[in-house]
Amino acid sequence: MIAARGLSKNYGRTVAVHDLSFEVLPGLVTGFLGPNGSGKSTTMRMIMGLDNPTAGIALVHGCRYAELRWPLREVGALLDAKAFHPGRSAYNHLRWLARTNDISIGRVEEVLDLVGLTAVAHQRAGKFSLGMGQRLGIAAALLGDPGVLLFDEPVNGLDPEGIRWVRHLLRDLAAEGRTVFVSSHLITEMSLTAHRLVVIGRGKLIDETTVEEFTAKNTANAVRVVTPVSRSLVDAVLRAGAKAIVEDGGVVVVKGMTSAEVGELSSRNSLTLHELVPLRASLEEAFMALTADAVEYHTKERSTPPTATLASEGAGIYEMERS
């Protein structure tokens, strides 16, 4: 189990992480979700004792990282893809790591086999592709058979087969009762891998929840209707207690009703409909909307925050479901 209590980190005047508190429980994959630059890596480095927090504390199994007796046997981490010397072979990299925690050489061969690097184990790791480097990092994390695992963007640089492998690995590790904490800036990836979510933006906690809850909360249904009598339809919808947004060309977006309910409503009121399409916010759009205020580096394209007005919300957040 991992616990962050009021964790804060400033670099000069820049606040990287602010008053972050959360818990990561054993037996589950916990996704650490946030846009790039939101403080995920800094938080993970503080948990690992690599960066000193400005305030607060991070605990693993109830103690600071530096107090762990056999760190690699208790915590395994993949923090950056290339935390190894390019001149050393994968085998020798794992061999020195094993020496630090009195881990057998047999285990080195085991994890090399597990991540599929046995064939290239004696090549210089500097020749590895990003994906192979990532695999070596995962091998290093698993070396001590630890109960707590941290992975910072583990699927970066992996091919589709590798991504699938990592997803299964994370789930399997959690199923064995381990604490698995994995960061990503991709909500879709997390929705496939994680059970719980810790969501941050600009170094602050936005939500600590389950994937199901997060999905339910952030992907409200809406219906896109095209009708020549948009006024009447909006009146009917508002009377029924739902919300409606009128767009150009007789397009009405109805929120808070299913497409069946909208159809029945228009039938009761004898309103002609030309189109009736259920819309659903993708998890990705919901995540972007949720963290929009918290994204540090906006691209030009996203200069208008999508949550600013209802109309733009209708235009920006909803997309056709299986169009």
């Binding site: 480095r45 690992m48 004792g49 690599l50 960066d51 000193n52 990282y65 530096a66 762990l68 007796r69 056999w70 760190p71 690699l72 046997r73 915590v75 981490a77 923090l79 950056d80 290339k82 935390a83 190894f84 010397h85 390019p86 001149g87 050393r88 072979s89 020798n92 990299h93 061999r95 020195w96 790591l97 020496r99 630090t100 925690n101 009195d102 290093a140 058979d145 109960g147 199923a175 064995e176 009762g177 381990r178």
Partner: protein
């Protein structure tokens, strides 16, 4: 399937310690080609320089050999060793910072003083073994060349000769530790190496014209004029004092390096 914490094996220590760090550091050092290249350059360079220095001292008339110190002459080739042993020390630290290995090291062993202590022990042991082998090789090679050139020679049984040879090797090992400290402080190979070269080779030149001759307290002149000499050369200090000063320099650099290592984010 349920994950179970490994039960401690009987007789196993309760916590990772200096022996584990040292073993890991040994693997790290000897699994890099740069280590072997550095050591090879140390040997070939120093022996080559020794041959040059001693052959130039042959075939002179009697008067030329007034005050001639064959030991010092043979050990003058060690100047190249000064450079190479510094590279060995610097790379042991900057090689980790440059590649991100430092984070793996601190994740595997988060007690930072222990990490530095492990590196100091390994670099000290390896540098000492190599440097002693080197100084004795230089001494014997030099004497052979001097004898060939009809110049006076020294033997280890003469007073002060063994001290000069053995202490010069230990002095080189201290320089290696200084390099390690600079590497931890500066964290970049190029920066740390420039600083090392500046302190060892450039500083004596800069201080040359100052009347009180503070240049004699710089590492290279301590080695060249005091520690590696049976009969002290030029502006000098006593050999023992010179060795002690060098030990102090390296210790100071390492203490500062340790303080920074504790404070800084990795």
């Amino acid at each position: 399937m349920t994950y179970l914490q490994l039960a401690p094996v009987h007789g196993e220590p309760r916590r990772y310690g200096i022996t584990h760090v040292v073993r890991a550091e040994l693997v790290k050092l000897f699994t890099l080609r740069s280590t072997f290249w550095t050591l090879l350059v140390t040997f070939v360079g120093s022996l080559g320089a020794t041959v040059l220095a001693t052959s130039s001292a042959g075939h002179h008339n009697r008067g030329w050999y007034q005050g001639f110190d064959p030991t010092n002459q043979a050990l003058s080739g060690l100047l190249l060793g000064v450079l190479a042993i510094g590279v060995l020390g610097v790379l042991a630290a900057t090689g980790e910072y440059g590649t991100g290995t430092i984070r793996a090291s601190l994740a595997a062993g988060p007690r930072r003083r222990l990490l530095l202590a492990g590196k100091v022990l390994v670099i000290a042991a390896v540098a000492l073994a190599v440097s002693e082998a080197l100084t004795f090789s230089c001494f014997w090679t030099g004497q052979a060349v001097l004898a060939h050139g009809g110049a006076p020679t020294a033997s280890l049984s003469q007073p002060g000769v063994l001290r000069a040879v053995a202490l010069s090797g230990a002095f080189l090992a201290l320089l290696g530790l200084g390099g390690l400290g600079l590497g931890v402080i500066i964290r970049h190979t190029a920066g740390a190496l420039s600083t090392y070269v500046g302190l060892t080779f450039l500083l004596p030149f800069l201080l040359q014209r100052i009347p009180s001759q503070p240049g004699r307290f710089t590492p290279v002149l301590l080695l060249a004029n005091s520690v590696s000499a049976v009969a002290p050369q030029g502006p000098h200090v006593n050999a023992g004092v010179g060795f002690g000063l060098m030990a102090l320099y390296s210790a100071a650099v390492l203490v500062f390096a340790g303080a920074l290592l504790l404070r800084r984010d990795a």
